[in-house]
């Protein structure tokens, strides 16, 4: 029986020769990821259920990356980071990326691959729905709640249902100015916000092979916006090159079998993709950027696990070099590593940071989730009124970036940057 990559990874992690969609299996976790918003609750469940003196199943496999509410005066947010710090100390956890220290990284889904904890063939559970990002490196990675995370902390295992696979085959050369974000927004538009509920979304084809690991992360990151359990891309030379100097744990890549049966296959010609947006208030509200040129904007936002990687800032800088933004443009690098590269990398004689300053963007903020999900009232870039925002983030639900009256359009960094210049939604190909 031929297996998809998702089935192959789950078979390995469950010690079973074969697994089938719909089967309930116990899998061993390779990594449990948590952060400041859900970590304290998961720790609370762990202590309540396993006892105050309980030890985590494997201190080398628990990764804590605080990222949500870091630069805030909110006392409970500070208290939550204190809970994580105390837990890391008490349990002897090596992988605690502590705020306020040189170890601080920022957004967990960009930091996890950077720090070599997202590896091919692994099973990664995280207390965050965007944990599906790490399927871009060939892992089975999925978001779970605090109670399940408390269970994993105590046992290293979780009972899960093997998902059926939806296969997205994308072939051909992507047009210029079309990005991974445009691919995933189109797919979500086609299948809807519940089009992949419970399923694995597997992305393959020569277009996927041709794009960078970071672009693959953007695609897998938004699998959950179609309801998927995981997004996944088979590891290749690019994947192995990306992790070669980073891997923090032993790993063995796992591959699916050619021609493994799937629930459904969707085929796309790369040439059919265009720069696009998701209109308020759902990620499935697909529209071509060109068809929204009458939408006037108040703000642009570049950041988050979806659109705050160095490749995202590179794209934005390519558009903004030699141009001026006409609306408030917020830049929030996902991690400290991204922030460092913004200051170092150059296009011509200017660093990316200088290009953004020349363009009139807001000063670059410290790395965190910031306004992607609203957060405490003093969160950087949070909407406060009826702003219309174009953003590289992943969700445009009512109230997502703070105020319920704001309207959020999701787009690629190229489209966000082009729109920041004109003050209207703009296809980057149309920027003269």
């Amino acid at each position: 029986m031929k297996r998809t990559i998702t089935e192959a990874v789950l078979a390995r992690a469950s010690g079973l020769a074969r697994v089938e969609p719909g089967q309930n299996i116990w899998v061993n976790a390779d990594i449990l990821l948590t952060h400041d918003v859900c970590g304290p609750g998961a720790i609370g469940v762990f202590k309540r259920e396993f006892g105050p003196g309980a030890r985590v199943w494997d201190p080398d496999r628990v990764v804590i990356i605080p990222d949500h509410y870091i630069f805030t005066a909110d006392q409970k947010a500070k208290r939550n980071v204190d809970i994580l710090r105390e837990f890391a100390r008490e349990q002897g956890l090596r992988w605690f990326y502590e705020p306020g220290t040189p170890n601080y990284r920022g957004v967990c889904h960009v930091a996890l691959p950077e720090t070599g904890h997202a590896l091919p063939g692994h099973v990664i559970f995280g207390t965050d729905s965007h944990t599906c990002t790490h399927g871009a490196l060939g892992a089975f990675a999925t978001g779970i709640g605090n109670t399940d995370a408390g269970f994993v902390l105590g046992t290293g295992k979780l009972l899960i249902k093997v998902p059926p696979t939806l296969r997205f085959v994308i072939c051909g050369e992507l047009p210029v100015f079309v990005t991974g974000k445009d691919i995933i927004l189109r797919i979500i538009g086609d299948i809807g916000v519940d089009g992949a509920t419970y399923a694995a979304m597997e992305f393959c084809g020569d277009t996927i092979a041709s794009i960078s690991v970071e672009e693959r992360m953007t695609i897998c990151n938004m699998a959950v916006e179609a309801g998927a359990k995981n997004g996944i891309i088979a590891p290749d030379d690019k994947t192995l090159a990306f992790i070669s100097k980073r891997a923090a744990h032993p790993f063995e890549p796992v591959y699916g079998d050619d021609g493994a049966p799937v629930l459904k296959t969707f085929s796309y010609e790369a040439s059919s993709f265009e720069p696009c947006v998701a209109r308020p208030h759902l990620p499935s509200n697909y529209a071509r950027a060109r068809d929204c040129s009458d939408v006037r904007l108040d703000r642009a936002y570049i950041g988050s696990c979806t659109g705050g990687k160095i490749s995202d800032f590179r794209m934005a800088a390519e558009v903004l070099k030699g141009r001026r933004v006409s609306i408030k443009t917020f830049l929030v690098p996902a991690t400290s590593e991204v922030a460092g590269k913004i200051n170092e990398e150059r296009i011509g004689d200017r660093t990316l940071a200088e290009i953004f300053a020349d363009a009139g963007c807001e000063p670059i903020a410290p790395p965190s989730c910031a306004a992607c999900l609203g957060g405490p009232e003093d969160t950087y870039g949070r909407t406060t009124g009826n702003e219309t925002v174009i953003s590289t983030t992943n969700r445009n639900f009512i109230g997502r970036m703070g105020s319920k009256a704001a309207r959020i359009y999701l787009a690629s960094p190229l489209t966000v940057a082009a729109s920041a210049v004109t003050g209207r939604i703009t296809d980057p190909r149309d920027l003269a």
Binding site: N80, G145, K229, R395, R400
Partner: protein, 191 residues
């Protein structure tokens, strides 16, 4: 309900209560906005506060789900459309509903993580309606979920729709969530 944990000894076969009606794709930001995620569900006082903020992210203009100044809702049952609970993995979402006193959400379908969290915590019973049900209810109606007869009924109008059999989910919820269930079944040691 110490430390936010529910211990329900027997589960009623007929759940009755006032209904709040919602549409499709009710996301977790509407169920519990991110500004309240600084509250930790396992801390009793914060569990209660999460309840007071349940559904605080609904668009303005709808009736309040929890009366301002109160901790608990008068709506024991939510009737909704497709994909209830989409978005974040925040367990604060089913916890906020359970802490507010909502016992069941009857929706045409659920987002995966919300469904699992609702059961794992034992906070709120997710019931799938076999047909769209939102057009049969108005917020404020009284409803009955008949778990034996497998239907959702509007007590005011008498209209009803079949519900899918929740199967073993009932036992897990009745035991107060997966840990309680696992102990009851001898899968893990009693504490």
């Amino acid at each position: 309900m110490s430390e936010g944990r529910r211990t329900v000894k027997t589960f009623e076969k007929r759940l009755k209560g006032r209904v709040y009606v919602l549409g499709d794709n009710i996301d977790t930001d509407q169920i519990i906005p991110a500004c309240y995620l600084n509250l930790v569900p396992t801390i009793p006082d914060e569990y209660r506060k999460l309840g007071s903020h349940a559904m605080a992210g609904l668009p303005d203009g709808l009736p309040p789900f929890v009366t301002p100044g109160k901790d608990r809702t008068e709506y024991r049952i939510i009737v909704a459309g497709r994909n209830f609970g989409c978005g974040s993995s925040r367990e604060h979402a089913p916890v906020a509903l359970g802490a507010a006193g909502t016992v069941a959400v009857a929706a045409e379908s659920f987002a995966r993580i919300f469904f699992r969290n609702a059961i794992a915590t034992g906070e709120v019973l997710p019931i799938e309606t076999a047909r769209p049900a939102t057009n049969l209810f108005t917020t404020g109606d009284d409803a009955e979920i008949d778990l034996a007869g497998l239907c959702l009924r509007n007590i005011r109008t008498g209209a009803s729709v079949p519900i899918r059999d929740p199967g073993p989910v009932i036992e897990v919820i009745a035991a107060g969530g997966i840990f309680g269930f696992a102990r009851k079944m001898g899968m893990i040691r009693s504490s």
